[in-house]
Symmetry: C2
Subunit: 172 residues, 2 copies
DNA sequence: ATTGAAACGAACGATGG
DNA sequence: CCATCGTTCGTTTCAAT
């Protein structure tokens, strides 16, 4: 993960279909080197895939919500089972397993509010391990398509040679 | 958005770099038709982009959290300003603007817990419009890379010709 | 490790069927 | 929607650095 890899990853996050020669020019290496670097980043699991982003309205999901869900008992078995089942539901876009207050956060996207109601009542309330949930409609959402490497912009704590403590200054 | 478009979108969500001839074979049309369909889907804004997905640990963000944030006064001006500022912060991965209880949910990813603390204390608490916040560490997270078109699997309510009401049965 | 060149196959954009 | 054509692009190989 040197400067060249970081720059390649940056560009591919922004546009996975950038022509190789343009990418090579931006990064400052030959196209053949670029091609090899990309393959290595994929093999190392740093680049996990290339995906098309789609307008959720076109996918029949104009209504989105976040559903905080409490699951009891909070054992590994129940957590993993609920996680798998939630991910298998077509309404569910993402699942977060959390520490603290609530145990799960479900990001759901559906066609209308009736479907949201049906999801909550028929698919969540029905489950015995779900002890409570609270849902919020999403008005707008911003998802960053390209994330910076925090290490490359000096945001990762480095050990201070004098104090021996880890710095926690954000230099952004 | 017929069956062919839906299938093309499905495949491109799964793998944005699938060879055109393979895609054409799966969908059952000629490669030239496929190419034209993809360009049209992009022009219509249904496909919004092609992005590489990257391992967050490799990006220097092994620690992730969800931060529920309350903003007062809840005027359009303050909402938009906070949204823009949040999206501009390098730690922030996504911002949700919500109806109900809390106003914002911030998805943040940082290098360590010190940075998370610094983010909360230095960048959120400092703001006068932020009246309270609560953060939860993310243990695990599942994000669906390819979403189904709910209309194509019969999950969108259709008007019942007899009752005039919208059906809300999930046939999944 | 990176480079530039060469060679093959695939993709693109346009045209006509 | 399909087939074709010329051009551009991606990938691989290889000798050289």
């Amino acid at each position: 993960m040197d400067r060249i890899d970081t720059q390649i990853v940056d560009e591919l996050q922004r546009d996975a279909r950038i022509p190789l020669r343009d990418l090579a020019e931006v990064v400052g290496v030959a196209a053949s080197t670029c091609s090899e670097r990309i393959r290595r980043l994929e093999r190392r699991g740093i680049i996990t895939g290339f995906h098309a982003d789609v307008d959720l309205v076109a996918l029949g999901r104009p209504v989105q919500a976040l559903v905080s869900t409490q699951v009891r008992p909070l054992s590994r078995q129940f957590i993993e089972r609920f996680y798998d089942d939630a991910m298998a539901m077509p309404e569910v876009i993402a699942v977060f397993v959390l520490a603290g207050g609530d145990d799960f956060l479900l990001h759901v996207g559906v066609g209308d509010v009736q479907q949201l109601h049906s999801f909550l009542v028929d698919k969540l309330s029905n489950r015995k391990e779900v002890t409570q949930f609270r849902s919020s409609i999403i008005f707008t959402q911003g998802q960053k398509r390209s994330l910076e490497n925090l290490r490359s912009i000096g945001m990762v704590g480095e050990v201070d040679r004098n104090s021996g403590r880890t710095t926690r200054t954000s230099r952004s």
